[in-house]
Amino acid sequence: MAVVEIHQKGHSHEHDVHHDDHGHDHDHKESFITKYIFSIDHKMISKQYLLTGMFWAIIGGFFSIVFRLQLGFPEVELTWLKPLLGHWINDTGKIDPTFYLSLVTMHGTIMVFFVLTAGLSGTFSNFLIPLQIGARDMASGFLNMLSYWFFFLSGTIMFASLLVETGPASGGWTVYPPLSALPQAIPGSGLGMTLWLVSMAFFIVSTLLGGINYITTIINLRTKGMSFAKLPLTVWSFLFTAIIGLLSFPVLFSAVLLLFFDRSFGTSFYLSDIYIQGEALSNMGGSPILFQHLFWFLGHPEVYIVILPAFGIVSEIIATNSRKPIFGYRAMIGSLLVITVLSFVVWAHHMFVTGMNPFLGSIFMFLTLIIAIPSAVKSFNYITTLWRGNIIFTPAMLFCIGFVSVFISGGLTGIVMGNSAVDIQLHDTYFIVAHFHLVMGSASFFGMVAGIYHWYPKMFGRMMNDKLGYIHFWVSFIGVYLVFFPLHYIGIAGFPRRYYSFTGFDAFQSYTDLNMFVSAAAIITFGVQFLFLFNFFYSMFRGRVAPANPWRSNTLEWSTPINPGHGNWPGEIPTVYRWPYDYSKPGAAEDYIPQYIPYSETPTSNLPHEIDDVEKEDEDLDVNEKK
C-alpha cells in the first residue's frame, strides 16, 4: 500500500521539477534548426561540442606537424605548403621564424582550450551528467545552448586570427606581456593578439555558462535515490572540473581584460621601463609578473580541468571492463577533492625563475610536490582495479590502460620539475615539453578518445569498428611514447623550447637524428588519427546497430532507449538503489547489477549491510511520504 502511494508521490515530484510530460509526448515539432543547430537538448549540444573539438584537434595537430617538420628536417623544402600558408613559407621554402612562433602558440591555445577543455568537458559533461544522474536535461537548456554558441563564436574569432596578414598571436600560449602587448615586438601581437584576447573572453563566457549548468544540474536534478555516495565517478569528476573552472576562469578574464587595456587604451598594468625600436615607451610602474600570477592562477587549475574529466571517464571504463568495482571509490573521490583544492595553490611553480620571491618558491614547491600523493593514490587504485579482474579489451579499455601508463610516466617527471632547485635548469627546456605532453596532453587525449569509443553506441546508436580501434590504440600508444619519451633526453641536454632552430649554439648541436626520429613518429601518430576519424564517421551511418547495453554497464544511461529522445527516458526516470560499481558481485546471476535494480530483487547477492537496506528502502519511502 505504502509503496504504491510513494510511487505517485515520486511521480508528482517529477512533475514539479522536470515537466514530466516532456518525456511522454514527442509530438511537438522540431525543425532542422532547433534540432541540429540551436538545439537545447544536452545530447545534441554534446555532439556539437565533440565535432567542433575534433575539427580543432585536426588543426592543432596539423600545426604541430608543420613545426615538427621544421625541427626534425630543417633542410626540407615546404614549398608545397605555400598554397595553404602563403607568405609564411619564404622564398627558400622554409617556415618564417615568426610564423613558427605563431604555430607553437596556436597549437597550445587550440589544444588546451578548444580541444581538451571544450572538446572534452563540453562533450562528456553535457552528454553524461543528465544521463547518469537520471535527469531529463540540463538545469537550463537555454544557457547550455548559449554556452556552445559562445564557444563557436570564440572559435570563429580564433580562426579568423589565423588569416590576418600580420599572423595570429605568437607569444606562446601563455601570452606573456610585454611581448604580447607590443606589436613592435612581434607582428603577431598586432591584430592577431587582439583577436586572441576577444576570442578568449568569449571562451571564458562559454565555460562559465557551461560550468554553472553542470554544477546546478548535479546538485539539483539527481533522480530519486541518487545520493552523492551513489554518483558514478564520471559525474564526480565533472562536478569538480566545473567548480575549478568556475573559480579560476574569471581570473583569466581579468588578466585578459587588463592586457586588453594595456594594448588598446594605454594603461600600464603589465608594462614598465620599455625601450623598443629606438623608442622609450611612457608606460611605468606596471609588472609583467602580475600577468603571470593572474594567468597561472587559471593556467594551473586549467591542466586539472583538462585531466579530471579523463580521470572520471577512465574510472568508469576500467571498472566496467575489468568487471570489477572500482577500487577505493571513496579514496577516488577524496583524491579528486584534494587535487581540486591543491590545484589552486600551486600556480607559482611555473614561475620559479621569474625573479619571484624565493620564499614563495619554497612554499609552492612544497604544495606542488604534495599533489603527487593523491595522483599516486589514483594510479595505484586503477592498477588494483585491474588486479583479479576479468578484463575485456574494448578499444575504450585499451585507451584507459594507456591513459594510466602515460599519466604515470608524465606525472612522475612532475616531481622532478616541481622541485624548484632542479627546475632552474629544466625550466623552459624540452623536459617540460615532454612532461606536460604526456601527463595532460596525451593522457587527457586518451581519456577523451576512450570516452568516445565507450559512449559512441549511446550517442549514435551504432557501434564503432573495434579492430580499427585496436590499431588506432596501439599505433597511438607506441607513437606518443616515441614522440615524447626522447624529448626528455633533449631536455636533459638543455635544449630550450620554442626554438626555431638550434644551429646557432655549440651546446645544442647534437640530436639532429633524434629530432628527425621524433618528427617521423609524430607524423605517423597524427596520421593514424585519421583512421579514427574514418571509423567515427563511417560507423555513424554504417556501423553495427548497438544493443541497449553493449558493455553490460551499471550506470543509468544504458537504461534509456538505444536512441534516447528528448527527455531521455520515455516513461518515468528510474529510481536508483545502489552504487554504480556492483560488478561480479558474489552470488549475483550476472556479472553486473545496474543501479536501478533494488536490493529486494537481488536477495542472493546482497551483502550483510545491504540486507538492512532492503528494509530501509521501505522505511525511507514511508518517511518521505509523511513529509
Partner: protein, 472 residues
Amino acid sequence: MISIVIGIGVLLLLAILFVILRATSLVDIFRSADKRRVGFSNKVNAFLFPFFFVVGSIGFIWSYLVVEKDFLPEAVSEHGIKTDGLFWLTMIIITVAFVATHILLFIFPFTYQYKENNKASFYPDNNKLEMLWTVIPAIVLTVLIFTGWRVWSDITDDPPKGAEEIEVMAFQFGWLTRYPGPDKNLGAYDYRLTTAENEWGLDFSDKASFDDFTSSDRVLRIPKGRPVLFKIRSRDVIHSVFAPHFRLKMDAVPGMPTRFWFVPTKTTAEMRKELNNPEFNYEVACAEVCGRGHFGMRMIVEVMEDAEYNEWYASQKSHFSKHPSLLAKVPDNFKEEAKKLFPAEEAAAPSSETAVPADSSDSSSESVKTAAPATVKVDIKEGQKLFNTTCMACHQISDQRLVGPGLKNVDQKRSHDWLIKFIRNSQALIESGDKQAVEIYKEFNKMPMPSHDYTDEQISSIIAYIKSESSK
C-alpha cells in the same frame, strides 16, 4: 620531402588495412562471432601489453645509452653540482616507481584477461592498502622536499659580500654586459636615457656610471672560484638568461631587475682540455620566448683564472671615455670632473658634435686608424670568431633572412665605409638620414641593429670572413 612521402604511404597502408578489416568483420558477423562475449582479439591485446613492456624496456635502456653521451658535461658551478645531484636522485626514484607500476600495469591485463568461466573478485576496498600507498609516497616526497629546500635556499640566499657584480641586460635580440669598473659600483640607469651610444640608459648624474665598462667583444668574462653576481634586466620584453653549463637560469624582466649568483668552478681553458675540444665555449641562450630572433640570442661566456681576469678587468676602458659625445649628458656640476676622463684635445668641444662624427673620432683613440680598407690588417680567423659571437644570432651568410638580412655577398652590395659605419652604429647612420640605412631599417620593421664598439680592423675582419664564406 621524404617525410611527406612516408606520411602519405602510411595513410595508404592504413586505408588498405581498413578494407581488409571490414571484410574480416563481415566474416565475423556471418560466423556470428559477435555473439560471443570476446573474440581472439582479446587474447592478442592481452599479450601485447607485456610484450610492449619488454620491448619498451629494451628500447628505453638502449636509447639512454645512445643519447647519454650528448648530455651536458658536469656542472661548472658549485650550486649546479648540487642541483644535478638532486636531479639524478629524483630520476632514480621516479624510474623505480615507473618500472614498478608499469610491471603491474602491463602484467595484469595479461594475467587477468577475460576467461569464460572466470569471475572477477569483488574487491572494492582495502583501507590498509590505500593507507600504504598514501604514506609511502608521502615519505619519499618529504625527503625530496627537504633536500630541495636546502639547495634552493642556498642558491637564492643573499650573495656573499665581495661577489663580482656584473649586469646582464637583455634586448631583442642579444645581450649586453656592464661591469662596474674600478669603483666596483654599477652606476644608475634610466631606460628613458637610452640611445645608440648609451644602450644601458646610463644616468650620468650618478658618478658611479662614469667608469662602467662593457666587454667590448661581447664575451661575458667571469673569474673562476669567486662568487659572481649577475644583475639581470631587460630593455624590452621578457627574456631569460640561460647558461646551461652553469645550471643557471633567471628571467630578465623589464621594470623588475632580477639576480642570480653562483661560483664558477672551471675555466674555459680547463673545459677545453677536459673535453678535448679547443673550440669549446660556454654559452648563454635565451629561455623565454621573446620574438623572431629568440633562437639566436647567443652570448659567449669565458671563465678565466682569477689573476687573468683581474688583469683583463683593469685593462678595460670605460664606456664613457670611449664616447666623448656622452659628455653632453653630464650635468654641469660633474662636467669638470668628467672631462678629466678624456684625452685633452677631445674633451674640448664634443658636445656640439653629432653622433656620426663622434664615432669616427672614437676610432682615433684606438691604436689603429686607417681609412682605406687596403691598409687595414684583416684576419679572417678573427673575423670568424667575432661573427660567431656577435652577428650569428641574427644573420646568416646566405640569401636567407633570419632576424636581419642574409649577408651573402654583402661586401659587393654596400661600400666598405658604409658597412663600417652601419655596423658600428646603425642608429646614428639612420638618424643622419642615410638613404640605404633608412631603407633597411624600414624593411626590417624598424628593428634596430645594436651598435658595436669595434675597431676598423675588427669590422674589416668580419667583412673579410663574410666575403670568404660567400664565395664558398
